[in-house]
């Protein structure tokens, strides 16, 4: 046994921490990239939904002044909604995968720390979102000559805010999975739709009843989609919306991380980490 392999790098500090996060990302990337059906399935749903709304636009645009002014409205909305959805799924499904593999025990007895596990989930979420929504964006250009990048720099802000809110929901779903087991797996797919009606994806928030408007403005997506409408319909970028969304995102990510940490603590009290699986 050589001295070089006996030597272990230091375990504390940023370098080792980044290496552990990379290991977690590598674990999921190995899985993802070797399976083309998985990659196709990630882009499939966003693409089909985008195509559906594109045809709705083509059908309604001749008789609708709103759509004549902003023909890319529905396509842009559906693609941004998918950023939120994929962002959340990326976090939750990464965790579901560990549960299916009965690998949580190995991870939690390794030097991997909780914040590194979360960072790995978030990194996978970015990868899944880029693959899923990116595929739909390519088809939007190829089939309808619509480029989501026509929104310009505000798109980056919208993308980031929606992704961040998706992360917070994903962390909360991961906490539920840890608490209730894979019986709660449906939450991973369905949780985000709870906020869909108050997100203002396809309609402005002011069409909602008063109470629902209050709820809507307590969540970041309302600001993002209102901001998107301002860009598409009036050509203006509302920085105030962006700031509100970003502040709320920080609050919700904090809450999601706290909930996840509490679920891990509870699992350590109940002794379920080594048994978690199918």
């Amino acid at each position: 046994m050589s001295a070089s392999v006996q030597a272990l790098s230091r375990q504390a500090g940023l370098g080792p921490s980044l290496r552990r996060i990379r290991a977690l990302v590598m674990r999921h990337a190995f899985l993802l990239l070797k399976s083309w059906p998985r990659i196709v399935s990630m882009a499939y749903y966003p693409t089909v939904t985008m195509v559906l709304w594109a045809f709705v636009t083509l059908y309604l645009a001749p008789s609708n002044s709103f759509l004549r002014d902003a023909p890319g409205f529905f396509i842009g909305a559906v693609l941004l909604w998918d950023v939120l959805f994929r962002g959340q799924l990326g976090v939750s499904l990464t965790f579901v995968e560990e549960m299916y593999s009965r690998n949580l025990g190995n991870l939690f007895v390794s030097p991997l720390r909780l914040h590194e596990l979360i960072a790995g989930q978030l990194a996978m979420s970015v990868m899944r979102t880029v693959i899923g929504v990116g595929g739909a964006c390519v088809f939007a250009w190829l089939l309808f000559r619509y480029s989501i990048f026509s929104m310009g720099l505000p798109l980056v802000a919208f993308f980031t805010c929606l992704l961040a809110f998706g992360w917070s929901i994903g962390l909360a779903v991961s906490a539920m999975l840890l608490r209730f087991g894979l019986g709660a797996e449906e939450l991973a797919w369905a949780a985000i739709f709870l906020v869909a009606p108050v997100s203002g994806v396809y309609y402005p928030i002011d069409v909602l009843p008063g109470a629902l408007q209050t709820i809507a403005y307590a969540l970041p997506p309302a600001y993002v989609f209102e901001g998107m409408r301002a860009v598409l319909l009036h050509g203006t970028f509302r920085a105030d919306y962006l700031i509100d969304a970003a502040v709320l995102d920080l609050v919700f990510i904090g809450l999601g991380a706290l909930l996840f940490a509490a679920a891990v603590h509870s699992a350590r009290v109940r002794g379920t980490l080594l048994q978690m699986g199918e």
Partner: protein, 269 residues
């Protein structure tokens, strides 16, 4: 006389001896209305192998889980390599490892991918070299490109053991390490673990139902029943104390509630 093992079940907390790699004091775990572990204390001498024995539900997995920090005790303290596991487990986890047939590796990753991921998680300096070394040692070279999920139970056990040795652990917790292995491979595993311990001074805590393995590998034995340490000592001492021929017979006696005194009396009559 105990041979290297110091055990103080139910007594007041005592300081750990300096040569203890694992020191457990008054460890208690209560689930709802059930006490899974009751005031268990023991020390495991550095560089030795100790067996944690007991029937199903005796508290072996509970103890191992708490040593790894994935289960929080209701009371008590645990020190591994001088670190308080309950307060600073991430300081000691890089120096430990664990294997259990009840914890899988990702099935769709190949053996090499799995070992690579865990080598990085544990901060192994040269993962390629270490994986090649372990593959040669555990006869895994031909399996490195195969998905873990396609392996037989015995092959999986070998991969899990290789994973547990990736980081040259100073403390190794082994939960039924040779379960599912044929006698030949199981013997090679034990020989490797013995060699590894001789060359590195690793401390091992072994939960096993294979009494032959315990007699061969373990300097000390801790016997658990219903969450309590009911006896302890070197295998030869226990065999003598219970007036039996093998550890298997001792295990049956203890698991069924006999004590050394009652057995000795029975033997005398």
């Amino acid at each position: 006389m105990l041979n290297g093992l110091r055990l103080h079940s139910g007594r007041a907390a005592q300081p750990a001896p300096n040569d203890s790699a694992i020191s457990v004091r008054r460890l208690h775990k209560r689930y709802a209305k059930v006490d899974a572990l009751r005031s268990v204390s023991f020390d495991v001498r550095a560089g030795t192998t100790t067996a944690l024995l007991g029937g199903n539900g005796a508290g072996k997995t509970t103890t191992l889980s708490m040593l790894l920090g994935v289960l929080l005790p209701t009371g008590g303290t645990i020190h591994v390599l001088g670190c308080d596991v309950l307060r600073e487990r991430h300081r000691v986890l890089p120096r430990m490892n664990f294997t259990s047939p009840y914890v899988d590796l990702p099935k769709r990753l190949t053996v090499r991918e799995n070992l690579r991921v865990f080598a990085d998680l544990y901060g192994v300096y040269d993962p390629r070299e270490r994986i090649a070394e372990l593959a040669a040692r555990f006869d895994l070279a031909a399996l490195l490109k195969r998905p873990y999920g396609e392996l037989s139970a015995g092959q999986r056990t070998r991969v899990s053991l290789a994973k547990a040795l990736l980081n040259h652990p100073e403390v190794l917790l082994l939960d039924e390490p040779t379960a599912s292995l044929d006698p030949d491979i199981a013997d090679r595993m034990r020989t490797y673990l013995e060699d590894y311990q001789r060359s590195t001074g690793c401390t091992m805590l072994l939960a096993s139902h294979n009494m032959g393995e315990v007699e061969r590998m373990c300097a000390d034995v801790i016997m658990l029943r219903a969450g309590i340490v009911v006896d302890q000592g070197a295998p030869a001492e226990l065999i003598e104390r219970y007036g039996r021929q093998t550890m298997e017979e001792v295990f049956l006696d203890i698991a069924r509630g006999a004590t050394a005194d009652s057995d000795a009396a029975e033997l005398a009559s």
